[in-house]
């Protein structure tokens, strides 16, 4: 009986959401003036008692804007409302669902379909991966829909909306890392697992500043001299501003997973420059994540992190919105710097008074997962070796694609 009412309820809800979305979509179509945040002129952030602009709140940081722009949009930064509508109809703006009530062989069929429609390289073992369908969506996805922008990509510079190619140095390093990886199983010990599974960092900066569907909210709490960003995966970014923000960065030998940030105010905009990222080359399974999530949760940053300079700009463009912009400069990793923009919105759930802080992310204490993975690899090491090799193979194809991109860039005279 219940079932009968589910479908209409959902369609109604979906329709309502769609209407809400278009109502909320920023009036786009025109690019903002260079270097100026959209809406900045129309809004002045409130001031805290000690004079700093007020960025505080529970911020929903999810976005459905793709990282890189689809070819069809060319150099267009914004899509039309018509195009946005089409994307919505195609389902590109819905929260991921793994609700298909299927197990076993049926899941394999879904997997094949997913790969067929994917731009990710096939792993050569159709049906083996069931990622995305192994959990029913209710376990992981916030059922609400994030607000949308008409942006065609998060990347706004280079103008083609694509992350620039990796350098040869980065690609060589990648190859070297994977060669080392080949001699190990999926989980010979904990270092064979990614940083997220080891409860160290999730995806690393800056990628982690985008929210995922499980933990979409970041909380900003300010105090005199500091802007603190409570990250949902169990740690706080404490960013010194004012006098503390003027202090020189740590010495080169000191490296941290989330780097060493320094903040300053440019008008209402918080500008954060972060250096001293952890050099990840030494680890067998390296990676602090960076802008890329690697295959199978083994997150790779394309270089060592030692030359990465991350510059973030937070601007409250109206009461409910922060424009979040970052620029990645790392000559060892990318052939040129690049910049992205996304919008953070005040979290609707918190606005309704249902939450005023994040659920404690006490990851280590109940991390049965890492134990299960290591035990699993010991029960059947041959299979764990096989699985690790498969992961490396997938990355081999990813790397080949990156090399092609680099060659194309070089052939075009570095443009």
């Amino acid at each position: 009986m219940k079932h009968r009412f589910v479908a209409p309820t959902i369609s109604a809800a979906a329709a309502a959401l769609a209407v809400a979305w278009f109502a909320e979509a920023p009036t786009a179509g025109q690019a903002p003036a260079e270097g100026k945040a959209e809406g900045q002129a129309a809004f002045t952030a409130g001031r805290l008692p000690w004079g700093d602009p007020d960025l505080q709140g529970m911020w929903d940081t999810r976005t459905f804007t793709p990282m890189e722009r689809a070819e069809a949009f060319g150099n267009r930064e914004f899509m039309t409302e018509e195009e946005a509508k089409k994307r919505d109809e195609l389902g590109l703006t819905r929260v991921q669902s793994g609700d298909e009530d299927e197990t076993g062989d049926d899941l394999k069929e879904q997997d094949v379909k997913r790969y067929a429609a994917s731009d990710r390289p096939d792993d050569g073992r159709p049906g083996y991966r069931i990622a995305g369908a192994e959990y029913n969506a209710f376990w992981s996805a916030d059922p609400s829909k994030p607000k949308m922008s008409l942006r065609t990509s998060q990347v706004i510079d280079p103008p083609d909306g694509k992350v620039p190619p990796l350098t040869r140095e980065a690609l060589d390093l990648w190859e070297k890392r994977d060669k080392e990886r080949l001699h190990r199983s999926q989980a010979d010990d904990w270092e064979d697992r990614g940083l997220s599974e080891r409860c160290i960092v999730r995806n690393g900066l800056p990628g982690e500043m985008r929210g995922d569907t499980q933990q979409p909210v970041k909380q900003i709490i300010q105090s005199p001299g500091y802007v603190n960003i409570v990250m949902p995966y169990g740690y706080v970014r404490m960013i010194p501003v004012g006098a503390a923000g003027q202090k020189p960065h740590l010495g080169k030998g000191v490296r941290q997973w989330n780097g060493d940030p320094r903040g300053r105010w440019e008008g209402d905009t918080l500008v954060v420059t972060t250096t001293n990222f952890k050099n990840t080359i030494k680890n067998v399974v390296p990676g602090h994540g960076g802008p890329f999530g690697g295959s199978d949760h083994v997150h790779y940053y394309p270089a060592g992190g030692d030359t990465l300079v991350l510059t973030e700009r937070f601007t409250r463009t109206d009461r409910e919105t922060i424009e979040y912009r970052y620029t990645v400069e790392d000559p060892k990793a990318f052939v040129r710097p690049w910049t992205t923009v996304v919008y953070w919105n005040l979290d609707a759930w918190s606005e309704q008074g249902k939450q005023d802080r994040l659920f404690e992310y006490a990851c280590h204490e109940h991390n049965y997962g890492i134990v299960n993975a290591i035990r699993g690899a010991r029960v059947n090491r041959a299979e764990a070796m096989d699985e690790a090799a498969r992961e490396v193979n997938v990355r081999k194809r990813e790397r080949a694609a990156k090399l092609e991109a680099l060659k194309k860039w070089e052939a075009g005279g570095g443009k």
Partner: protein
């Protein structure tokens, strides 16, 4: 088949977009065995409300099984509270067994004794019809 059609059209695109983002905390393939689908019927002993994953302990004919679920944050936002799955509740769990063959599994679907699916009745779950309810046909 009908389910596949629903799922196929709507879900595909987004799954791809969020691949890697919306996945669980760990790599499923390292911990659980995709070739070992499992079905468990038993009574809830307790539920651990912890990150990175909740765990439901289920008594299956005198054997304790641990079933992995999603993180507390998303469950709370689904309207799932500590009262949703009380000790003693009879549940039917479908998922995949741990690779080490211990009595652990991930819980993909959790169904109550009367056949209703956890959360199916709450609004906005996005859950399609699953064909199990005879009144649905």
């Amino acid at each position: 088949m009908r389910i596949k059609m629903i799922a196929g059209g709507i879900v595909l695109g987004t799954v791809l977009m969020f691949a890697g983002q919306a996945l669980a905390h760990h790599a499923f393939s390292a911990e659980f065995d995709a070739k070992k689908p499992i079905q468990l019927k038993g009574k809830v002993i307790k539920m651990e409300w912890v990150n990175p994953h909740t765990w439901i302990h289920v008594d299956v004919n005198g054997t304790r099984w641990m079933v992995e679920g999603g993180p507390p944050n998303s469950l709370l936002r689904r309207g799932f509270t500590k009262a949703s799955l009380k000790p003693g509740t009879e549940v039917f769990v479908e998922g995949f067994q741990a690779k080490d063959r211990s009595n652990k599994a991930n819980g993909r679907d959790v169904t109550f004794a009367d056949g209703s699916k956890l959360f199916l009745g709450s609004s906005g779950t996005g859950a399609p019809k699953d064909g199990r309810d005879p009144t649905e046909r």
